[in-house]
Symmetry: D4
Subunit: 216 residues, 8 copies
């Protein structure tokens, strides 16, 4: 039986080490050396879907978890993945998109028009005011919104983009998955129409016409 002094020293040291993990770069990774890209939708329960604990209340933490509208590739997603894969010890990327996604629910051109109707000039917006060096070509606003035609196609294209991106190390494992909101089950993305038919996976199912080309 050691002294209490020794135990208290160990306890306080362990917590300090966990709390300052990021000081150790690639030697202070999260528990699963994992980066997750997922849609921000409230019907997509990341922990349940993947069987992990992204951020636990009592220490630990299995993954860095990036979420945006759609769970799609963007320059921000590349930025975040690039940081964790090159500098924070991450070795695997898992991408989760989902059926019934809001990104299927409207046409990007209509959304752009909605802003124009309010008097906003979508061709001359400083999208991120903290980074004016980043510019969007005139006419690309609707495409930028990122609405999808088909979530399975988008998921597959998203996986490919990460696999081939120059800022992502070649040995990072990348996989993509579809969470079916209707069945609360995970499945691989698929072009098999039968397997997808009863879930809403396409903009067409929302009565939405062909989106500006981004994922096709």
């Amino acid at each position: 039986m050691g002294t209490l002094k020794k135990k208290l020293e160990a306890r306080t040291t362990d917590f300090d080490h966990w709390a300052s993990r990021r000081r150790y770069g690639a030697d202070g990774p999260n528990n699963l050396r994992l980066w997750v890209l997922a849609c921000m939708d409230e019907r997509l329960p990341i922990d349940e879907a993947l069987g992990i604990h992204v951020d636990t209340p009592v220490g630990g933490g299995d993954a860095h978890c990036f979420r945006n509208a759609g769970g799609i590739v963007t320059d921000d997603a590349i930025r975040s993945a690039m940081l964790t894969c090159n500098f924070f010890g991450t070795k695997e990327i898992v991408i989760v998109q989902h059926t019934q996604c809001g990104m299927l629910s409207a046409n990007a051109a209509d959304l752009e028009q909605a802003f124009r109707d309010k008097g906003i000039d979508t061709d001359n917006l400083n999208l991120d005011p903290t980074l004016p060096e980043q510019k969007l070509e005139k006419g690309a606003f609707a495409k930028w919104i990122g609405m999808m035609d088909d979530v399975d196609e988008t998921c597959i294209k998203t996986v490919d983009t990460f696999k081939n991106h120059p800022l992502i190390p070649d040995d990072v494992i990348v996989s993509g998955w579809i969470w079916e909101v209707e069945t609360r089950r995970l499945r691989p993305p698929t072009q098999d129409q039968e397997k997808r038919a009863r879930t809403d996976t396409t903009a067409k199912q929302f009565g939405v016409s062909k989106q500006p080309p981004r994922w096709a």
Copy 2:
């Protein structure tokens, strides 16, 4: 006592309605009409920090939750917030950044140099290959990475950016918060050096020199 038939009809209808929420646009919001912007770090437990349930395993879902490296404003964050606030019924934005953030742990210029050392031309990258219309001016790569000097400053600037952004409706409530990893408690961002001193909130504390200007 109604018939079982009636009960089963109600049950299946309720689930269908929840599953297809996004079909109803602003009339099918998440439970708290809330959009959260947070860092992707595994030491930042969103549900505990905010006392909500972002995405629950058994239905429900309190918020759309955007997470990126830093929990900072980016064009992707603006895109995602713009969608939920204008089209999906969201009325409030809560931003959570945290101490001990990896975004304080290195100088963006050094990170850029690391890529250059590998032979990557950071001035000529198609950051998001699905959106070649989006361009970054030469020399802006390091700034784009988004490393911070001071997380409280960045949080305050992030709040301001959302409050003033033309794509975010004026009546959306915006607040920003710092999660202290060291104490596992939430606090408002502050310039009061005493309140911040014992947590790591600045790049300086990581031995990192002045970042490229983005949040200053």
Copy 3:
């Protein structure tokens, strides 16, 4: 505070009454005055699917529950429903069939042939040796097996048969439901191909050709 004697008298009387419910005919119904017809498949959890407790370990009991291969109408199902609806106080019928049903997995003609290959004369069988008065016309064996082409069609036809049967009182409420094994959710039977497409609801999906006509 009454005497313990009174309490013990009440307790023993209550149990006796429950145990001898069937002595009271229509005045001793099950708890929900319900008769369930369901497939005998182990992947069809009746209590979960309907939100009831068919037979509880500690007294009670919500329903008389008939289960056979397919959950289909047969003379036995009519017999059992006729007894409970006319003589044991039942007022409602709920029918549950399910996707992935074994009744879709083979062609009845092939099954009959399998028996013939073993030397069994399927045209001259005393199917129920306790009831030789019941006869099956020559050539009807395969049809008798009851294999389905399409579980939704069979479910709808089953509901109709009960609604119109002379031995079932007109005021009995009848509804039919499909349990999706793949999603573990209940839905109404439907002809909407999209809603059914990703579940196995047809013999065709098992590579099985057109069944002998019974449910068409």
Copy 4:
């Protein structure tokens, strides 16, 4: 520690396999390779009585469970048992009937008369309208109802019928049991009058005269 990708592949594959068990015929049996024949009565808790889990909410499933009025042999019971024993890998049959059964509570002749009193011609009924090829001889209606004189005798006869039926493979194990509703315990069927005396096992105990001959 394998990748999350591998774990997710295994998880989704396992579920798919379970959900599509019936595609594998005799190679996709239920967990106990068991077929249960039981009365549909709500006072007969199958799981408690047999110590199994017929259909579980979370996957699995120990048995195919056929239930009808009485838990007796009928052509439907033979049909269902024949399917599972010959084509779905089942190796054992357990039959459970119970005391206080409604099948003891009235005379079949009286039940037939009740229908006749309502103007129904019980000699000319298409019992199963989906299978007109199945016919019941005139005068056999009451016998068809299947009321019992003595549940123990019926149980023993039911076991014998299955043991000797040409459509049931010879190596299938068959046993029969009586659930005593009054004591909530299982026992073998018995002719020992003392062991049965305090439970209601005969129509006589319900004041019912000799039934049409079927189980005698």
Copy 5:
């Protein structure tokens, strides 16, 4: 909010009062003012059988509980009941005997002979050495043992003895019950042979001949 001093005074006083209940005679009764007479058999769970808590680990206590071989009337049972009913506030007597009782399992004459075979003179024993004033007539030893022919008869006779005993107040409520070990259920004592037949209630069922007369 009172002072802690007041609370501690109340707490210690309450416990003292409970612990010294017997100092208050008829004003310090047990919780149900109940006296139970039961067999000492380990298969007779008093608390479960009566739905009470005879003696609880955390204070309280519903009944004074007398137990002897058989749960029969003896001078000791009269003594104990007389004390609680006249001097300790008890108002009700509940008597519980049980099936499968050891008191049915042998003939008292044989038991006496067993002692004689060991050289014990059963006619000249000081049964209770602390009370030599109590004497048993020669030849009464076997009768004294108290073996039963029929537990229901004994129970009924036991109830009657208490109802008519001069030392038991007339207004005390007395009831008798049989616990069926085989079914773990309580029932009133009965002469209805059918209701008793399947439990062992008589010495005859143990192959034991007529006992010395005590309960007949």
Copy 6:
């Protein structure tokens, strides 16, 4: 994996054996081969005091438990112990009396007088009407009541009486214990006045004068 048939046979057999334990005489003992003699007081929790389960709700049963007023030796206690030790396999006797016992709370002579005041002739009572052969000498009524002067003395004398009784086999282990109601702890009986002083162990502490001689 055996058949369900085999499991059900084993289950029903085991229960039958337990239920009919007493048919096996010394080969069917209770679980601990134990006979307990205890006071009937509701403040004496036998299971807690001894760390056993006298009679469990779900089978089992550690002891035959005799309880009377005082937990004292009587002819009934000898009778019950004699039966279990000679004929039902019991090997050990544990005696538990307790402080604050009602048997200390009054003088037996006063209790006798209370009956005489009601007109009851305590010299001519048939104490156990079912056993008129048992007689109490005139003048012994008060002594028969069994009130104690000192519970520790009575406990020690009770142990000695059982150890030396001709009807109790010599190799039966006998021990005696005092349960302190005031402290809810068990202790051996003792003459050490200090160890007993703060609990009520004597009639004197109840203001009661010397009892008729029985335990002295």
Copy 7:
């Protein structure tokens, strides 16, 4: 439903207020406005003994709890009580000493001698090196140790000392209690030898002679 912003503001404010309670002096008291004086012994469970929560893991805190060897009055106890009663809002003092106390287990003179035997000059010690202004007269060392003759006497004297001390406000409620280690129950201090006799409350019971006078 208010905004999450408002809820987070309230939550962080509440915690800050609790954490900085002592800034508010008499307006920031502990939950019960209570000061406890208790012995430091590990067999004295303060929370159980008093039914309070001195210091809870999740906020709150019922009392300021002073503990020393014996739970006796000392200048330190006066100092601590004086602070909380005059400046931190405390209104009640509860004193808990206990039986079996180590302060009864040796004579203070022997303890002093033990130090002298080691060469320590107990007449010339700077007892508290941080407060050399505090001096102990020569020859008072043994008395200073504070060993007791009788814990009940000491407890009563301790209560009196606090009630009459000029630094303790007159309206503070003071009560004293004895925790009996042997019975794990609380009682008031008492001179009634019977109530104390079976617990160790005096040095005499430890074979220890008369202590230097302090509590007599």
Copy 8:
């Protein structure tokens, strides 16, 4: 399987031994041979802070726990530590002070003045009326109160005082710790201003001027 008698003897003996631990001096230590010195504050949860169980409800007990205002060294603390370390088997001392301590919240001179304002002559007080031999020099009252300038400094000085005190054996391990009320975490005392800055560790942070010299 031993006899119940043996088990009961062991049980009662074990409890007696635990209850009378202090009779064994250094051979009857607490479970961790530990003495804790801590502040009496209700926001300092000793068990949580140290991961021990000072005094458990069900036996055991890890430490002797001394608590006073501040958790500082006093003659009483030396007295208590001296007793346990020399005579009761203790081998380790752990000292816990805390941020936000009330001892930082006022200047001792002001507190003294508050008493003087009430007419109390703080130079002529018999601080401990039971020990008049202990005297405080005139003018030392404020210093005696023990208010701190800096809790880390005080903690370090407190540790040193115990390490060097002639009454504390040299081989006793001594360590000191600060509990941060604001973060509910333990840390070592430190002079590193950054690590302490956001917690209240100094009187200055309470707006309090330099204390009378005791800990400097």
